[in-house]
Amino acid sequence: MSKEKTIMITQTRNTSFTPRRTTMQPSMRRNQNGTRYRSETKLGPVAHTVLVALMITVLGLVYLTQATKTTAYSYEVQDLDTQISELSAKKSELEVQNARLTALERVKGSAVATAMTTPEATDYVR
């Protein structure tokens, strides 16, 4: 009975736990995991090749995505640079306009200035 049971177990579980206590190094500490999982699934050469090819493809895609993203950022940076330079140009135009409007010649020629008169006398408060 016990033999049959043993055989059944062997058929349903294809993994085994190897106690490591027996081969345990002298440095192993107490309560340290002493078992090792060992898969008994074996991959054939085709599966290996496919897996490697898939990994390379994934890595390639990751690289491409990053490279494309960097390029997209370049365009964003360029857009921002363009905006900065356009705003600077607008600012300089406004500064020039402001300076022109407040220039002495313009102020002197304004209606307010031309309506002014020279005072006949000046009194000084001491």
Binding site: T70, S74, Y75, E86, E93, V96, A99, L104, Y124, R126
Partner: protein, 581 residues
């Protein structure tokens, strides 16, 4: 010998293998052996260098202590093409759009430039405005790019043209502050080296990208007050027209700091349209670049020297004669018939040449302007007052000359003539700076046009000024100030002054050198230098009026004096100076 036979499959395999071997060898050749060559070709095709232009510093004048811009940068755009990437079907439309939008700013042969497919950079239009650039950008042509630049803009027009100068098409400052402070103003261009796409958009790909940020030029604040400058220019123009003269200059200084408040020249020009000037002499700042004989205004320095050395006092009396013998020459007064006992004050009042020769002789043995007297004069004129030497002002200037007493030219005749302003060659800025030291207590300030800087946020910071050296004692300065006030008050010009103020000055009428090398009174240059204030001098004004080649007899009192009076009376109001008493 047994011959080996190959099946057709073997032969096919060998052919395929051979082909593969050829491919591998070719790829090896291209990718390994010729790696550097092809990498360089790819780099040249993909990588671009972009200059990031530095913003040129702006120039400010002052308006009652507030910095106001007088030279600004206006953004303009250059349209360029990369003909290799311009699509053939777009060429005619590009030309048409440029013609409509850029108009006169479009360069010649644009169509031919677009066809130069070997070229990667062709300029199509220059100096177009932002609005024009945006209209062209809207068309989204492939291979057409825009680079932003700037041109100088002068909102005040002709104001202070010779002080400011201009910037030429190469971006270099010419004349004035623009030239002298070109390195500080222009800053340093930056650079972007990067892989670019077909539209020349720099991409952040590649490990060889370089970005160096540009450094903007300094924004400079001048000591010039735009109101004083404007009034000085107007008064000078009025004075020149009234005298029938053709040219002239005005300097207004703060005698207590050396700061130049106005530096006016006539005729003038608009720096924004410098290319339309036909006579290049309009670019010259004659106050610093044209030395001349300032004539009798130099008597101020002769008397200052003699008083400071204790050789004379304002009340010293001598026997005046119309003429006096100096070595083998005879030197005379311009104003004759005033013979008899004459004080030094009267020498100044009546501008007596014989009187200043007497004063100079007192520096030596009392009989001649001997070597000792000449050495003292040179020490004061040249070493202390800085006459005949560049002042160090921040615009182009010339030194002029004063011959040293140990030179062949530095003889008694020359030094006797120098006592009343002949036989030396000085600029107005030298004379005005030295004169300031005579009436400010005896301290010489280096004349300056630069008051400080303005940062990017518009905050101005100002430099402080310190006197460079002492020229005369405070006592001598006080005596000379008094003498100059008395001299002006005794003349008809004093009647035009506002009552209650301390106004003093000295005239100068310089003979010119005729074609035969002799001094002639047929053509003279008028000069006036003076100061004003309530209890102490607040401003110094120097005026020069001339008409070269016109044969006009211009007098310091008659033709330059009124310009001084005009500006002086205006300065009292502008500076809100209250009268004494």
């Amino acid at each position: 010998m047994q011959s080996r036979t190959f099946s057709r499959t073997d032969i096919l395999a060998m052919i395929l293998l051979g082909c593969m071997a050829i491919f591998v060898l070719r790829l090896f050749w291209l990718q390994i052996v010729e790696y550097d060559t092809y990498k360089e070709i790819a780099r040249q095709g993909q990588q671009r260098s972009f200059t990031i232009p530095a913003t040129r510093g702006e120039i400010y004048m002052q308006d009652k202590g507030t910095a106001v811009p007088v030279v600004l940068n206006k953004a303009v755009f250059t349209v360029f093409a990369d003909p290799a990437t311009v699509q053939e079907k777009d060429r005619s439309e590009i030309v048409s759009v440029l013609r409509d939008v850029a108009g006169g700013e479009m360069l010649n042969d644009v169509e031919a430039k677009l066809k130069k497919e070997q070229s990667r950079y062709e300029v199509l239009a220059k100096n177009i405005s932002r609005t024009q650039a945006e209209k062209i950008k809207e068309k989204n042509f492939s291979g057409i790019g825009f680079s932003q630049g700037s041109v100088r803009n002068y909102p005040e027009g002709v104001l202070g043209a010779q002080v400011l100068g201009f910037v030429n098409t190469e971006g270099e400052g010419q004349y004035g502050i623009e030239q002298q402070l070109n390195d500080e103003l222009k800053g340093r261009d930056g650079m972007l080296q990067s892989v670019a796409d077909v539209r020349n958009v720099p991409l952040t790909l590649g490990k060889d990208n370089i970005r160096i940020e540009p450094q903007s030029g300094k924004n400079v604040v001048l000591t010039i007050d735009r109101n004083v400058q404007s009034y000085a220019e107007e008064a000078l123009k009025r004075g020149i027209e009234s005298a029938g003269a053709t040219e002239g200059s005005v300097l207004v200084l703060n005698p207590n700091s050396g700061q130049v408040l106005a530096m006016a020249n006539y005729p003038t020009y608009n720096p924004g349209e410098y290319y339309s000037v036909t006579d290049a002499s309009a670019f010259l700042n004659t106050t610093t670049m044209v030395p001349y004989e300032p004539a009798s205004v130099i008597k101020t320095f002769t008397l200052s020297t003699a008083i400071d050395k204790g050789a004379i006092s304002p009340s010293t009396v001598y026997q005046n004669t119309d003429c006096v013998a100096v070595a083998d020459r005879t030197m005379c007064n311009a104003l004759r018939g005033l013979g008899g006992p004459t004080s030094m004050q009267q020498v100044l009042n009546n501008s007596l040449n014989v009187g200043t020769i007497f004063a100079a002789r007192q520096l030596g043995d009392g009989q001649t302007v001997n070597a000792s007297a000449r050495q003292i004069m040179y020490d004061y004129f040249h070493n202390k007052f800085g006459l005949g030497e560049k002042t160090g002002i921040e615009v182009a200037e010339v030194g002029g000359y004063i011959y040293p007493p140990d030179s062949v030219e530095g003889n008694e005749v020359r030094y006797s003539a120098m006592t009343y302003g002949q036989s030396l060659s000085l600029t107005m800025i030298q004379v005005a700076s030295a004169f300031s030291s005579v009436i400010n207590g005896g301290e010489y300030y280096k004349p300056t046009l630069v008051a400080g800087t303005v940062d990017d946020q518009g905050n101005a910071s100002y430099d402080t000024t310190k006197p460079l050296r002492r020229t005369i004692s405070e006592t001598t300065s006080a005596e000379m100030t008094n003498m100059l006030v008395t001299a002006r008050g005794s003349s008809w010009m004093g009647r035009s002054d506002r009552a209650g103020y301390m106004i003093g000055g000295k005239t100068g009428t310089a003979e010119t050198i005729s074609s035969n090398g002799e001094y002639t009174q047929n053509e003279t240059v008028a000069t006036y230098i003076g100061f004003g204030g309530t209890d102490s001098p607040e401003y110094v004004i120097m005026v020069r009026v001339a008409a070269p080649g016109k044969g006009l007899n211009l007098e310091g009192g008659l033709h330059a004096g009124p310009v001084f009076t005009d500006i002086s009376n205006w300065m009292i109001d502008y500076k809100k100076l209250a009268p004494r008493g």
